[in-house]
Amino acid sequence: MTGETVLVIEDTPAIGRALRAALEARGYHAVLAMTGKDGIDAAAVSDPGAIILDLGLPDMDGRDVCRRIRTWSDVPIIVLTVDDSEQRKVETLDIGADDYVTKPFSTPELLARVRVALRRGRAVDGEPPDPILTVGDVVVDVPHHRVQVAGEDVELTPKEFAFLALLARYPGRVLTHRAILQEVWGPEYGSETQYLRVYASQLRKKLGEDPSAPRLVTEPGVGYRLVDRAAIPEP
């Protein structure tokens, strides 16, 4: 894991310096850009494994930076935003960000998200995806339609299985309601979030969820993510 480059696009010098120190202390190579334009250039030149992108940049809208980078790169992008409205979060994910963290943030939590993003980035690079998905103690065997939680088999309906497998394919990452509905139910779906609430609650029962430390995390108004309970520190 050492030596991977993380690009930080952030215009507030103090936050940039704090993030650089935190990344370097963990063995990453940190590249700092203070404007959107410099950030786009650095994304092209420094070949980062992940990008931390502040949405409030002086020269351009952070979402445009995200869109621009997405035109040629699939690098994981974690967005920093002060706007914690659900609509803004959904928008951000829809334009291709992988995750978002609202300011003020806890650095250890942000860096846990960075670790997840880097792992996903490597998984995308290594061609055929592993048919057996493992997120913490949840193991999803896609070819055999089998799910194990903490070594125990769990029976799931086909829809429940598809829902869980989708989340397990992107561990730690928020998937929006729309993305899940279209993937699991079909392209004509998109606004039927009540289905998701029903299936999420069935899945939680079957996974034996502890509400204080869930694996299947609800992002209110935005979507769901499946997390490795051991890897994500509490904010």
Binding site: D11, T12, A14, I15, R17, A18, L19, A21, A22, E24, A25, R26, P58, D59, V82, K103, P104, F105, S106, T107, P108, E109, L110, L111, P233
Partner: protein, 390 residues
């Protein structure tokens, strides 16, 4: 439409004399004319007498309207018959000619009287209309005035609301930015990896700097609330500006670490008659502003001079400068430069404080930058303070 009826009544009472008054005047005139003409009635023709007697009818018609005209015409006819048609002083007619003359006289008197009265009514009506139109126009003008006042007031409250939300936006942004750094660093120092001492000190300095930035922001907000409450009154004392300036530059050393600061104050500079804390705040805001807009390694020059009985203080940077068109506006609250991360209240507070001392503040083109950063003309903020007279 009770209004128009009321107006008509007003119109009637606005005739020169009332009906009764006009009739009495008509009768009196007839009596007068009769008294004058009776001694000569044998020598005057009936036509002359009749013509003379039409005059009171016309007067009564003009002054009292149709009814007065008819009553006066009747009186005139009787007078003509009794006093001017033989046999005199009787209500008898000898000649058919005279009967015809009396008939014609009565008809003519009535016709003339009615015409004059009608004309008078028409004139009165026209006057009434004119008055009504005038009144409507007046009312409309009041309405328009009221509407304009309302629009003005609503624009004022709109502006006030805009200012309020601009203030809230910039204050929450400004409060949050240091807090983001403080939370990011402290969370990492507590739960993150072990940092070596040098990096740890650097991180702690970041927290310290941001805490001080918050402190300055709170000071600005307190001043802003005093300005808004109208309670910003300087507690004047003799202020040695050389000490104030060098002390403030020293205290802001971390804010100013990317620039070189030159302080140039002649030892002959008189004391300023000013509130130390408030002037210190002006200098702090201007230095912070200069550091924010300076290129790395640029020079910030601070000068003070006596000029025309005032002390003139200049804080000049080598940043991009202020466009001439914006040089007044940047002292308005919540004006931040493009892409600026400041709250936009600092310069407004500077102006309020300087003006509370009777001085003035302005921005000019600065000293310019070294050739390396061409295009950076720099900005020079100049403010004045009164000299202390002991």
């Amino acid at each position: 439409m009770s209004r128009s009826r009321q107006d008509r009544d007003v119109g009637n009472s606005r005739r020169p004399l009332g009906r009764v008054g006009a009739t009495l005047v008509g009768v009196a005139l007839i009596a007068g004319i009769a008294a004058i003409l009776i001694p000569f009635r044998a020598r005057t023709s009936t036509a002359t007498d009749a013509l003379a007697l039409v005059v009171p009818v016309v007067v009564a018609a003009w002054a009292g309207g149709r009814i007065a005209a008819v009553l006066t015409a009747a009186t005139a006819a009787v007078t003509l018959e009794v006093f001017f048609l033989p046999p005199y002083n009787t209500f008898k007619l000898d000649l058919v000619d005279d009967a015809v003359a009396l008939g014609v006289f009565t008809a003519v008197a009535l016709a003339v009287g009615t015409l004059v009265a009608l004309e008078g009514e028409r004139r009165l009506l026209a006057e009434q209309r004119a008055a009504e139109i005038e009144e409507l126009y007046e009312q409309q003008r009041h309405l328009l005035d009221a509407q304009a006042r309302l629009a003005e007031e609503s624009a004022y409250f709109q502006r006030l609301g805009d200012d309020r939300s601009a203030l809230l936006r910039s204050v929450s942004h400004d409060l949050r930015t240091p807090l983001v750094t403080i939370k990011a660093v402290t969370s990492d120092l507590r739960d993150g990896p072990h940092y070596d001492d040098k990096v740890r000190d650097e991180l702690l300095d970041l927290v310290g700097d941001e805490a001080e930035r918050l402190d300055r922001l709170v000071a600005n907000l307190l001043s802003l609330s005093r300005i808004e409450a109208g309670s910003l009154t300087p507690e004047r004392q003799a202020v040695p500006l050389d000490e104030l300036l060098t002390d403030r530059v020293r205290k802001l050393n971390r804010v100013l670490r990317n620039v070189r600061v030159q302080v140039d104050v002649p030892f002959t500079l008189p004391l300023a008659d000013a509130d130390y804390t408030l002037v210190d705040q002006v200098v702090t805001n201007l230095l912070e502003n200069a550091a924010r807009h300076s290129p790395d390694g640029g020079t910030v020059r601070v000068r003070a001079r006596e000029h025309d009985g005032w002390i003139e203080v200049v804080v000049a940077d080598q940043g991009p400068g202020v466009d001439p068109a914006d040089r007044d506006r940047i002292f308005e609250p919540f004006r931040r430069g493009e892409g600026s991360t400041s709250s936009g209240v600092g310069l407004a507070i500077c102006r309020a404080i300087v003006e509370a001392h009777g001085g003035s503040i302005a921005v000019q083109a600065g000293d310019g930058a070294p050739a390396a950063s061409a295009g950076h003309q720099g900005a020079a903020f100049v403010f004045t303070l009164p000299v202390h007279r002991s």
